[in-house]
């Protein structure tokens, strides 16, 4: 059995985590690490402003401009799983307390100085909603400050500037924040940047460096190069080598903690795989039994962690040589 996969966190800050994945062999290390990268960027749900009702806008910026800027503001999204429904899963007419968070902004400038309208002026509004969807306990499961702009009551976090207004100008609006994922719109991404690197010395020659005179001088090594031995001058190319160390930095926008982003990413990967295995099982049952066997088990109960495979082989050996039992392991 090959070496165990290990994780080493090199840096953990409020908004980012830098870690090294080692021995994620399985020959699929690169694609697994890449799937992790893809999933934290695009599949982790957060809340973001999705609809803006502008009551009055006498600023220099047009409504669309402000609405777009509002959408980009990161909102605190912890407990997104249980705290809010997807709008498509709620049966209210447009939005309600179960599938949305309402934020309000009302600024008028009466002074001679300009006012910076920032994300700090947005307030979460909790009021009665008439056409709400089916009753649920979502709002009670929300964490503290759910839906608030990130860093609102924290003087060390600079707010997001939306607009500047001068004397006599006013901005009054209502925002509806909804849950979504970044595949729908990038504003729902919990990550501002995900760094991904392997093989800093390019020993595997997965890329070729263009250079004028001296490759070494023209291609500075990355910070991760100290983790691996530099190739010797006369070292022959090992064409069988596989990447086994992956350096990643996940930088969040603040809507979720880096820790939550990583774990939620893993959960999303599990859901994808579980749904696939579940789908395979149900199609096999139709084939072998000729009819559906009422196998509608909620995904959470299928026990895919180490579920035994209870299938009859449907395809026989067609004259192919079989090299004994499959002795592969993870």
């Amino acid at each position: 059995m090959p070496g165990e996969a290990t994780v080493r966190i090199r840096e953990l800050k409020k908004d980012r985590v830098n870690f090294v994945l080692e021995n994620v062999d399985l020959a699929g290390g690169t694609s697994f690490a890449n799937s992790l990268r893809r999933v934290v960027m695009a599949d982790v749900p957060t809340v973001a402003i999705d609809m803006v009702e502008i009551e009055s806008n006498t600023t220099v910026l047009p409504d669309e401009f402000i609405a777009h800027r509002l959408g980009m503001i990161p909102l605190i999204s912890t407990s997104c799983d249980e705290g809010i429904r997807y709008p498509r899963e709620c049966n209210c007419t447009s939005h309600c307390q179960y599938c949305s968070v309402e934020l309000q902004l009302n600024i008028t400038c009466t002074d001679d100085t300009t006012i910076d309208v920032t994300s700090n002026h947005l307030d979460v509004y909790t009021g009665e909603q008439t056409d709400a969807g089916d009753d649920g306990d979502e709002p009670s499961k929300r964490g503290e400050g759910f839906g608030m702009p990130v860093g609102k009551n924290d003087p060390s976090v600079p707010p997001v500037l939306l607009c500047k207004i001068r004397k006599g100008q006013e901005l009054k609006l209502k925002c509806i924040a909804r849950k979504g994922i970044a595949k729908e719109h990038a504003k729902w991404s919990p990550c501002s940047a995900v760094a991904f690197e392997y093989d800093p010395h390019n020993k595997l020659r997965h890329t070729s460096h263009w250079f004028e005179q001296d490759e070494r001088a023209e291609w500075p090594l990355s910070e991760n190069a100290i983790e691996e031995d530099a190739p010797r001058e006369d070292e022959p190319f090992d064409f069988l080598a596989k990447p086994e160390r992956f350096y990643m930095t996940v930088e969040t926008v603040g809507s979720l903690k880096p820790r939550d982003v990583i774990f939620k990413g893993f959960e999303e990967l599990q859901t994808k795989l579980a749904n696939l295995i579940h789908g395979l099982k149900s199609t096999t049952e139709i084939e072998t039994n000729g009819r559906m066997t009422g196998h509608v088990v909620p995904i959470a109960q299928t026990g895919w962690g180490q579920g035994p495979t209870t299938m009859n082989g449907t395809g026989g050996g067609g004259g192919w040589e079989s090299p004994g039992a499959a002795g592969w392991s993870v």
Binding site: L12, G305, W320, E321
Partner: protein
Amino acid sequence: MNAPNRHELFVLDDGEKGVEVIEDTKIPNAATFKIIKQDHTLGNMLRSQLLAMPSILFAGYKVPHPLEPYFILKIQTDGSITPTEALEQAGNALLKLISDLQAKFKAEFAYKDVEGVDGVAEDPYGALPSNMTTSAWGSSTRFYADYS
């Protein structure tokens, strides 16, 4: 406005099956899987996991069109297992790897929490430059282009 809902790219419709199995009639022990509402995230991961299994002769995937949210995965085995079984094993192996990594991340994060690195960052954006004592927004120096 006839634009389809964006979530139709990643949420299965009512009654839609996530996986379709098309057994190959010309090649022995081969099958094509059409996996709907999934993309490279799952496809590439499964493909490389399948290739690591000794009983697999061929595994490959493609997303036939970027606007159509599905991918197809072709698998040929040596006959010791069916392609469906192989795919299921690959999925289970990846699930095992994920739960393994989850536990390791949990331990690493707990260790870092004890160290007190988390939450006591000087500034959410890392350390401030030494010549700056407060954040850019609290300082009195105005932006050079701000003439108001």
